[in-house]
Amino acid sequence: MATNYAIVTQDLTKFYGRQRGIEGVNLRVLEGEVLGFLGPNGAGKTTTLRVFLDLLRPTSGSARIFGLDTQRHDVEIKRRLGNIPGDIALYESLKGSELLDLLGSFRGRGGGRRIKELAERFDLDLGRQVRAYSRGMKQKLAILQAFMHDPELLLLDEPTLGLDPLMQREFYALLAEEHNRGKTVFLSSHILSEVERLCGRVAIIKEGRLVLVDEVEALKRRKVRKMHIHFRREVGKEDLRLPGAELLRLEGQEVEFLMKGDIQTLLAAVARLPVEDIAFPEATLEEAFLEFYQPAPEGAAV
């Protein structure tokens, strides 16, 4: 059976004058998959998304969405996608409902029932002026405008920015539902836990180049994790030589390890020590990137 791709880029390159945006990006996103797009600020994530939307035209190479060229068929493509921009700018003087009416009009219909459902789900009052909205409410409005027409492809740039944890959970649930309905999601995010939770594969971009495209499970194995232990009493350094862990910090009864190996063996070794409390803090973006940003693997592009 032929593989269907929602997004295919070929040597996609965008320079701003002499300044590099992205260079030689080769990426394939399968229809129905949720792909995480990771990279630090300035790596080229937003540039890539803007090329997909034909807000920017590539210097060379091409991007095709649903088999259509993003430059020549942008309107046809946009009929089938929903986008949440990273830095959402809205018309402050309009009411939420008026803004959605305007954006819905470009599709020939307002999607009234879907809007009502989503507004209730995210507890957003569409009768208020956008300028009266908090950051989180604006983000909810951005979610509504991206999902209101039931698109086949979702381009999401930091979609949970400003949402409270409850709403974040609701958004994750919505995304999971959409995924189950066969929708394709291209998720650009800084939140590693979000990407882990939602995505099947991830693509990592560094200095405009794609350095890794891999399954999330494989990514997890590469991910740096830390372990904090508070001991009941001080423990000697020789006792802290644990299998699959590297001692990072030792301050009295407080110890921090970098976890690298098999967790079963490590926990068995830790269990022999006088542990008062143990914690596994989420790897920060910086920690994860330190690991990912080792020399790029050969043939990273898919």
Binding site: D54, L55, L56, R57, V75, P85, A89, L102, F106, Q145
Partner: protein
Amino acid sequence: MSFALLRVNVRLSQWAIFGWIVFLVAYALFVVLIYPSIAQSTGLLEYMKSLPESMLGSFGLTPEIIDELFGKEGFSLDGWLVTEFLNYWPIVVGIYAFMFGSGILSREADRGTIELLLSHPVQRYTIVATKFVALLAILALLLVASLAGVLLGTLFVEGGVDLGRMSLVLVQAGMAVAAIAAYSTLVSCLVLDPRRSVAIVGGIMAASFILNMLVPALGAAAWLGKLSLFYYYRPFDVVFRGELAASSTLVYLGVTGVCFLAALVVVQRRRAVI
């Protein structure tokens, strides 16, 4: 064209439109209401006739026009309105047109709202075309408000105005402002920075105005005046002859059409709209 976007653009400008309507009606009323105090003044006629021709020319006046302005029964209301109100109308309303026009694309790009609009299935040129039509609609509203101000004023003074000729002058003034709006729109599509586009368009408009003022003093280089859009605005000719000069109409419609179409081509071909 998108009617929803047109409606939203007019709606977003509603307070500015309201302010301009109040200003133009008040301006027209003021000019009409002070008319009785100067209608029979002979001092004004003598003063105007004493001015050098080059200076009169700067205001679009000639000794023949002055004679027609005053006629046998003193300064006519039509003439007074053209001298003090309609003569400056394209400059005053032109300021609104260039401020709006020079931000048509650049302000959307600067604020980031262009990304929101273009995330949906709409052509780039549709956004520019719709916003330009919204601007024309607003200008038409200001034109009607100006005429209403004049008519309102005539209720309080003796002697009426020739409504047909006043309307014709306003049509020519409207065409001049539409041309300003069109080149402002073009600059907005060429330069995505709203501050730069305002500076460029404002500079062109000021230079154009000054150039037209200087025409009588330019001598052999007077042809340079033809580069100014204001050169083709001939309110005195319209009000006294009762017809629009074909050359003015052609220039204004030509500039409007060419700049508008060029703006659509530019925005569609731009490599970046953000």
